[in-house]
């Protein structure tokens, strides 16, 4: 299919420009072997429109900067090969649910920082911090692996954009938030348990807001088992005999 013409339909809007309104703009490009949406967008900007806004950093699928909606699916643009779209038509939209910076660029950074502050998404030590001169505390190898498994989240925002609840309720913490809580409750170094997160977890903003549509798990570019994490937290809360929910 190399050498075919691909048609890009790209969402355009500059919210800082007083007279600008959202519109779709069409571009055409000759496909090259191994072309990704990252390569294509950079080529379009260089050759056709110097005002096109989008975000890439690592271009290798690890930093989470370039999430956008590609033919209806929130995903990472850097690792999306153009050849996978047999029609040769590619429609690019910014991730919904985040502040629009311009065109395909959204402010996921601001969202993730405020989510982290709201959830206290950091390790709260169970005891006093051990001296770094001493031999480190041991940890079961399997526990370390399980923590890493949930820590592989790259905060790209795809799960938020793919989630019906998040689209209806701004305050829903989404799979990214629930996964974050699961990560810290799994960690024996952290003094908190699910109960300590009850104020967000135990209501519509938390596990009970999830409608189990599995959009998060479908869209997650790292293939995290987000539904399992949400179920884990539900079970942890429900199994607490002292809590009436």
């Amino acid at each position: 299919m190399t050498g075919r013409t691909i048609t890009f339909e790209i969402f355009r809007c500059d919210p800082q420009h007083p007279n600008d309104s959202a519109r779709m703009q069409t571009f055409e490009l000759t496909e090259a072997p191994g072309m990704t949406v990252f390569i294509a967008l950079n080529q379009l900007r260089k050759e056709q429109d110097r005002s096109l806004q989008f975000d890439f950093v690592c271009r290798a699928g690890v930093c989470g900067s370039c999430a956008m909606v590609i033919n209806g699916m929130p995903t990472l643009a850097c690792k999306t090969l153009t050849s996978q779209f047999k029609s040769g038509k590619i429609k690019l939209m910014p991730l919904p649910g985040f502040e629009l910076i311009g065109d395909l660029s959204v402010n996921t950074g601001k969202f993730m920082r405020s989510l982290s502050e709201r959830l206290q998404g950091w390790l709260v030590p169970a005891g006093a911090e051990r001296s770094f001169d001493a031999v480190e505390a041991t940890m079961e190898p399997q526990t370390a692996e399980m923590i890493y498994e949930s820590e592989r989240c790259i905060e790209c925002g795809c799960c938020v954009s793919a989630c019906a609840t998040a689209q209806m309720r701004d305050t829903f913490i989404g799979a990214v938030g629930l996964n974050k809580i699961a990560r810290f409750t799994l960690d024996e170094r952290d003094g908190r348990g699910p109960d300590d997160f009850y104020h967000v977890l135990g209501g519509d903003d938390g596990v009970f807001g999830c409608m189990t549509l599995l959009g998060c798990a479908d869209a997650c570019p790292k293939g995290l088992n987000l539904q399992m994490q949400i179920s884990y937290l539900r079970r942890k809360l429900a199994l607490n005999p002292d809590r009436i929910i």
Partner: protein, 651 residues
């Protein structure tokens, strides 16, 4: 002029920047961090394989200590590094790993009992001791005597950066995202912050600070093929160069990583080879043992990259539409190991190549990877030439790496450098008076004028075209193997591009978020740095570490055991040199152990070696501390100076 005042301004929110910020905050100094992108998207996140620290826990790490780490680092640097810095670094690295474990990094841990590992192409059984169960593990990396690279699967940088940024959020440290520092504020003596452009609103802000620390990473994007993230454009380094006062150290010391995938140029970790992967040629032959019978695939990176290039030149490369490549074969490690310890590698192969590394060989070739050079600093991280300015991590030439960095030492440097230099930054901020707004005014106006001129120019060159030409010149003429003829051409061509960059014309005249304006501002900075790299490489008529001159294949300690210093003066790169004093070395220059020894020795090397040996014979019972004090004393902040305990060693 909008101003923001803080105690410690930190430019760059990767691991080095965040760690400096935490050190400042811990001492009651307000830290403000600037970042082009959200902190967790920094290039630190891309480090896969691990971080070197001599914990000595695993059975394959037994006997490891700071001295072994120090020796490996100095040899790896081809004696180009600052040995005092290497000592300080090796001492603090275990603390950095252990502290990050307390902060949340889920380091991969040792499981007691037997396990299968692939060593030198053969599946071998390794048995871990019961008393080490659950301690932090280490994998093998190139150029190290022991297995020393601590890791979390192959997402070590990601885990560390997340732990560090989470800690910074908990500490309430402000990270101003999507802003770009464009010019340092200074009065010719002291740096007092930076003029910063908000990349969204376009607003120019004067950040005034008692100390300014540049942690903006390397300059890999000067080359068209680099493993670096797109934001690694060296503009922070170039901003220091542009003052005319601060020199760049060893800009020509540039590392090419042996295994980036073809054609995307994305890195697959050295952990692939550390865990037992091998390199093969067009015939499927494992060729590295032919060149390096002892270290094979785990020779130092510069050596493996050169051997691969040499081997392709003999016609043994694999032809492809994207040029020649070789194969990285990790199939012998098996799907289970790859699924657990090389997950990112698997994802990268799957996403960008459509292959399964458990079954298929990976097409790889050497690709630009790391900038050993950078803003020249002393042992405290203070930049030469301007008081109050510091640099840490890849942006700096602290000079831990000399002419070749060992795998796993960069991630370690970001955190360790952040810990050590962070203490000095905090101390300096405490002792310094509040900055003066008046100093910022001319700098603010200079940047505003530059932007106005760019937005108004009716004619000029295209910034994207200049950038593309620069990248190609760097690739073709300032690469793995270098010659005087090519470097001369490169200097002439790059200087011409640099002049052309003074007149640029933009299509996009938007004052706020404008990617073309960003490109224009950056390409000017990048071209200055490119000229510095090429000039430094042309002048250095020897081969040392990653700087390989085909016309000068010998390492020439007699004439070249010195650091290149580049100042930007009268709109040109000006070279000078800083001697590296052999008489103060703990480990005098010797044979690095690859190929044949063709070093042109410096007469002082033998003298110093005799001194060191004589001392050791004279005081066979001296303690480690006494020995260090006598041979090469160094000073660390008190907080970081205590000995490191080890299981079983009892030190």
């Amino acid at each position: 002029m909008k101003t923001i005042t803080t105690d410690a301004l930190i430019i760059g929110a990767g691991l080095a920047g965040l760690r400096v910020a935490l050190a400042c905050q811990a001492q009651g100094q307000q830290a403000t961090v600037l970042s082009l992108v959200p902190a967790k998207r920094s290039h630190s996140s891309a480090a896969q394989g691990g971080m070197q620290a001599s914990l000595g826990n695993s059975v394959k790490s037994q006997g490891d200590d700071e001295t072994a780490h120090f020796i490996d680092t100095v040899k790896g640097s081809d004696w180009g590094c600052d040995q005092t810095v290497a000592r300080m670094f090796a001492h603090v690295a275990p603390k950095a790993v252990r502290q990050s474990a307390e902060w949340g990094v889920p380091w991969s841990r040792i499981k007691a009992g037997p396990r299968q590992a692939v060593i030198n192409g053969k599946t071998t059984t390794i048995k871990e001791a019961v008393q080490t169960h659950g301690l932090i593990h280490a994998r093998d990396f190139g150029g190290t005597k022991h297995w020393r690279t601590c890791y979390t699967s192959d997402g070590t940088g990601h885990s560390l950066l997340y732990a560090m940024d989470n800690k910074a959020i908990a500490a309430g440290i402000e990270v101003h995202e999507r802003v770009e520092a464009l010019q340092l504020i200074h009065d010719g003596q002291r740096c007092q912050g930076a003029i910063v452009r908000d990349l969204v609103s376009g607003e120019l802000i004067a950040y005034l600070a008692k100390t300014t620390t540049i942690c903006s990473g390397g300059y890999g994007r000067l080359w068209s093929a680099s493993t670096n993230a797109l934001i690694c454009e060296g503009t922070g380094t170039s901003m220091a160069l542009e003052t005319g006062l601060v020199p760049i150290g060893n800009p020509e010391a540039v590392q090419f990583h042996p295994t980036a995938i073809v054609p995307a140029g994305i890195l697959v970790t050295e952990g692939c080879r550390g865990d037992g992967g091998v390199l093969r040629d067009v015939d499927g032959h494992r060729f590295m043992p032919d060149y390096e019978p002892e270290k094979k695939e785990l020779a130092s990176r510069d050596v493996v990259s050169r051997r691969m290039t040499e081997h392709m030149r003999t016609g043994k490369g694999v032809k492809s539409p994207y040029g020649e490549h070789l194969w990285l074969d990790i199939t012998q490690l098996g799907a289970a190991h790859i699924d657990k310890n090389l997950r990112e590698v698997k994802d990268i192969c799957n996403n960008f190549l459509g292959i399964d590394p458990a079954k298929d060989w990976i097409p790889v070739r050497p690709t630009q990877h790391y900038s050993m050079g950078g803003i020249r600093t002393n042992e405290k991280g203070e930049a030469y030439g301007l008081a109050g300015l510091f640099a840490v991590g890849e942006a700096a030439c602290w000079d831990l790496h000399g002419f070749n960095r060992l795998g796993g030492n960069s991630l370690a440097e970001t955190v360790v450098g952040g810990m050590i230099i962070g203490e000095h930054v905090a101390a300096a901020a405490k002792q310094t008076d509040a900055p003066e707004e008046a100093v910022a005014v001319p700098h603010w106006h200079a940047v505003a004028a530059e932007i106005d001129a760019l937005l108004q120019a009716e004619q000029g060159n295209d910034p994207y075209d200049l950038r593309e030409q620069m990248e190609q010149i760097m690739m073709d003429k300032v690469g793995i193997f270098r010659t005087g003829t090519e470097l001369e051409q490169a200097v002439v061509e790059l200087e011409q591009l640099q002049r052309q960059a003074s007149e640029l014309k933009l299509h996009n005249r938007t004052r706020h978020s404008n990617p073309e304006l960003v490109e224009a501002l950056r390409v000017r900075k990048m071209l200055k740095l490119a000229v510095a790299v090429a000039k430094g490489a042309l002048a250095r008529t020897e081969s040392r570490g990653a700087h390989a001159r085909e016309d000068y294949p010998q390492r020439n300690d007699n004439e070249w055991l010195k650091r290149t210093m580049v100042h930007w003066r009268n709109d040109a790169a000006e070279l000078s040199y800083e001697a590296i004093d052999i008489s103060k070395m703990e480990l005098p220059p010797g044979f690095r152990g690859y190929g044949e020894d063709n070093t042109i020795a410096h007469p002082d090397s033998a003298v110093r070696l005799a001194q060191v040996e004589q001392w050791q014979q004279q005081y066979p019972d001296a303690t480690e501390q006494e020995r260090q004090q006598a041979l090469m004393p160094y000073e660390l902040p008190t907080l970081l100076s205590q000995p490191n305990q080890r299981r079983g060693v009892g030190k």
